[in-house]
Amino acid sequence: MHTAEQQVLVQKILDGDLKAFQELITLYQRLVIHIVSRFVTNREDQEELCHETFIKVYRNLSHFQSKAKLSTWVGKIAYNLCINYMRKAKIPLYQDLETGDQAYEFVQISDGAHTPEEISEQKDLSYRIKELIDNLPIQYKALLTMYHMEELSYKEIAEITDLPEGTVKSYIFRARKLLKDKIITQYQGENLHL
């Protein structure tokens, strides 16, 4: 969305146009549920957090600075609500990040006793990768989703998460390397269809 269009939409909402607010929700609900679902698995909690995000967006819209990108601003609200949710639930988000690689090593692949051939018969490679992604530390998953699925830049992700851009790059790099190493170890290149 262009800055001018964004400004028009924001102004309409500030003037009390709830249809315009509905339009904003439709535009960004995908981004919000994608961020939220990386932190929260319970469906009800996911919906509640998304709902809360947009209520907060409405209430704080007068503080939105037109120079900023609306998607990043909405994403930041969703992300912060998720962080608060994790803190309340006492889920050690940042500890995960510190010990991310180490913790990941303890995630057992369900049928590790089988040979790569047997594994490939049971589940295809995509499914296995998805399983590995699901077992990544929460923060890694959130950053990967923002980068790959939402196609946000490192800079935008840094704005959403309040992390330095270099840290965002490093986390994304480490997460992908971790996945690649797992895949190579498990499949030894045999099922990678060169």
């Binding site: 549920i33 699925m149 992908r176 290149g189 060169l194």
Partner: protein
């Protein structure tokens, strides 16, 4: 032979290595190990981009907007109530400051309802001399009831 490192492979797939593109592709043609690593990354990138994610219902936007509308209405009602209370408080404060409202009120009440008061006085023995206070209490309750239903809409 020096293999491509993970940074080079990821940058290649991210399209961030335009200056090294040619060299990387040349190396990839002759190195199976780097081809395997690159293919693993390709699969990972593909899944990260296409994996099924939860989505919100088609009515989600309308539901949130409706909720916001009702919250705004409640807020404006609350504002009205607060304003009304403030009005009464200020009015009461001013009255107390400038006049003796209880005496004035009682005098006005007496003038307006002198006939009724005579009737109440006759009933005084029944209520052990407190008939007027009971009538005032009832009138206040009726007034609060009217305010509650008609003005505050709570």
């Amino acid at each position: 032979m020096n293999h491509l490192n993970d940074q080079e492979l990821q940058a290649y797939l991210d399209g961030l290595s335009s200056d090294k593109q040619e060299g990387i592709e040349k190396h990839l043609k002759s190195c199976t190990q780097c081809q395997i690593s690159l293919q693993a990354y390709r699969e990972i990138y593909h899944v990260l981009k296409t994996e099924p994610m939860p989505h919100l219902s088609v009515h989600f936007a309308a539901e949130v907007a409706a909720d916001m509308k009702s919250r705004l209405e409640n807020r404006s009602q609350l504002k009205e109530t607060i304003l009304l209370l403030a009005f009464f408080l200020v009015g009461g404060g001013v009255s107390f400051y400038f006049v003796n409202p209880l005496t004035s009120l009682w005098d006005t009440f007496k003038e307006m309802f002198s006939g009724m008061l005579q009737f109440i006085d006759k009933l005084a023995p029944v209520f052990n001399g407190h008939a007027s206070i009971i009538v005032i209490a009832v009138l206040i309750l009726v007034l609060v009831g009217i305010l509650d239903k008609k003005i505050l809409k709570i």
